[in-house]
């Protein structure tokens, strides 16, 4: 794995197991829908991949629908559920710092007349259960809440939401964008009361272009694309078998999730500790955030400048905010940070392959950046 790569929440490097699976699957060209033998071979592979993914979240394989990735899964879940339930109510509850795939789908539903309530995170950096408690009512048909925020690593109280929905006599289905949690934590949507769950392959060292939506048995989602009936008509289109097999093998290769988390936590704490030497560094990730993400600001050094400086040193991170010309991060804005802090935000994110050495590379580079870079005047 590439040393110094600390942008795993953006995407991860393909692991060897997944890469090999994809390469050999490229020869398995039969259309899974074909009735002949070649189709049968592909279909069998497809179904075994489905079982693998299902097994990871303790779901039944009939509850896994392959898609092109997180964005499509979010769209299918949100639009599909809203359309299926629109006769029962008009209200949707979500958070203000969801991924753009969720927020943009919501904005589109608003245009179509749905009422969407966006819950803001509080000072603790996450959205409290009480906010959901106040917002969800018997007209609410959909609640969408991410598991882990992709910019700050904040953990959201998804597991507590089904109880509220039931208590409020709401017909709502619960969607969870678990893109940043899947493969890192033991997820069990059935137990957690989650009806729809977005999963993505490329955040767990699998290929880009493939993901899945978990749809709990009995929950109705209307398709948003139409075609030849694949994926039980919920997501038609000839299945990209190599990507799906690459996805399944990436899931198989996750290893010990507890140990992986421990490793990430160790790196994160090590880094936090080292960065605390610097009086101009503030941590933006909340206290109870995931071990895999650390967001901080080196005050006065713009995110993009820092990013390019680090890249010169072979360290790859994300800028928390696009740049002075771009829009400020909606996540950090939702947290009410001041503009300077938002403009300087840097996100580092780990994977099971990250090491303390990577953290040291980052620390050394930041140390140098602090003395050599000009700070912005604002």
């Amino acid at each position: 794995m590439l040393k110094g790569y600390l942008d795993n929440a953006a995407t991860t490097q393909l692991c060897d197991e997944s890469k090999n699976a994809i390469i050999s699957a490229l020869d398995c060209f039969g259309n899974p829908s074909s009735l002949h033998k070649l189709g049968q071979i592909s279909s069998a592979q497809l179904e075994s991949a489905r079982a693998n993914v299902a097994n990871e979240i303790k779901a039944d394989k009939s509850e896994i629908y392959f898609t092109s990735g997180g964005t499509e899964s979010d769209n299918l879940a949100i639009r599909g559920a809203a359309m299926a339930l629109k006769r029962r109510g008009n209200k949707i509850v979500t958070t203000a710092f969801e991924h753009a795939a969720v927020l943009s789908a919501m904005a589109d539903l608003q245009k179509q007349g749905f009422e969407v309530v966006y819950l803001n995170p509080d000072e603790s950096g996450t959205v409290p259960v009480s906010a959901f408690e106040n917002a969800i009512d018997d007209k609410t048909i959909l609640v969408s809440c991410m598991y882990i925020n992709n910019e700050t690593g904040a953990v959201l109280p998804v597991q507590s939401l089904k109880a509220i929905i039931k208590r409020k006599k709401s017909p709502a289905v619960l969607h969870c964008d678990a893109t940043q949690a899947f493969g890192k934590y033991t997820l069990n949507p059935e137990k957690e009361g989650i009806d729809l769950m977005t999963l993505s392959a490329h955040k767990i060292h699998g290929p880009k272009g493939v993901g899945a939506l978990y749809i709990k048995k009995g929950v109705r989602v209307l398709p948003i694309t139409f075609g030849g009936g694949q994926e039980k008509t919920i997501r038609p289109g000839t299945e990209p078998l190599p990507l799906i097999l690459g996805f399944a093998v990436a899931v198989e290769s996750l290893g010990d999730k507890k140990a992986n988390e421990q490793n990430a936590l160790q790196i994160k704490e090590y880094l936090k500790n080292k960065l605390s030497e610097f009086d101009d560094v503030v941590i933006n990730s909340p206290e109870n955030s995931t071990a895999y993400i650390l967001n901080f600001s080196v005050m006065g050094i713009r995110s993009e400048t820092m990013l390019h400086f680090l890249e010169q040193k072979g360290v790859y991170v994300s800028s928390g905010s696009a740049c002075s010309k771009g829009k400020a991060s909606h996540v950090l804005s939702a947290l009410n940070f001041n503009r300077d802090r938002i403009d300087s935000a840097v996100r580092v994110s780990f994977s099971r392959y990250s090491t303390v050495e990577d953290a040291d590379m980052l620390y050394d580079a930041i140390k140098e950046a602090r003395t050599s870079l000009i700070r912005s005047k604002r």
Binding site: T305, H308, F309, C323, I374
Partner: protein, 389 residues
Amino acid sequence: MREIILIKNGELALKGLNRHTFEDVMIKNIKMSIKSLGQVKITKAQSTIMVEPQCEDYDMDEAAKRIGKVFGIAAFSRACVAEKNMDDILAKAPDYLKEQLESANTFKVVAKRSDKAFEYKSPDICCMTGEALLNAYPHLTVDVHNPEVTVMVEIRDYGAYIHADQLPGAGGMPVGTGGKAAILISGGIDSPVAAYMMAKRGVELTAIHFASPPYTSERAEQKVKDLLSIVAQYAGPINFIYVPFTEIQEQIARNCPDDLTTLVMRRYMMKLATAIAKNKGCDALITGESIGQVASQTMKALAVTDAATDMPVFRPLIGMDKDEIIAIARKIGTFETSVLPFEDCCTVFTPKHPRTRPKLEAVETAENMIDGVALSEVAIQNVKYERII
């Protein structure tokens, strides 16, 4: 069916004895713009330039698109070549004009007979052609006042040509006839438009870009190159010069008074640009400044900037509103690229309260607070060149 492109030059026709020089440059530019599409023969006859493809499967659509962007051309048309006899003209016209006539309701035929030895006179040619077209497309009616399609039949010395309405050309003067100048390009909306406007007046462009990594990114540099390759569709190949500017900007930020940093920076850019431009044989600088747009573009600030160079500085956008500039940027296709959000060298070091009415002496004192001569030499030694086509 053989197809050619007939090109009418615009303002050039007004030139006197040196008109041929202008035309020759324009022909060279036309050749350059369609070079990659394959062999063509370009001839000049009877105040028209003719482009004749020399191979069967020549991409005429693409050629027309490119020729539409060559400055100096007032109008052009794609035409079908016929033998100089009515039988061949009448045989070819209905087929060649199928697309235009099928989607129209009315038409008229205009004949132009510059070869007076041709057996029929213009009104006869019109009648015969009109009849043939009406027979082929019975849904049509003739309207000599407001036709939707005007069919032209041109009988020239070397052949007969049939075509529908002319397409508008890019106008202006052939690039290369207006001298050579260097555009200071940052990657915003304005400078590509300024470059386009000067190229339209026949100015050949060299582009100078100041980059300050890591404050600016490789993507910002790529963005500038992308913008230039759009401008190059009109302006022809552009010499791109990348000037490393980080050291100078850092020194300015560290040592000069805050409210003057932008002006000091602009002046160093002008000085560097002047040295580079002269070295490249340019006779002027071009910027995308428009009066009052930002603090460094007030009249007094521009005067301070201008004092840093002894070259003429052309600012074609000086009296334009942002809306007007954006309209041109959209028309020439640079807008979408210009608004991509990457830091460019102008935004990183922006002070909170820049001076809008600077005094030249104060700015000169400020700029001498750093070792500009030495830093500029290093910058010039490390410039990178690239040809953008």
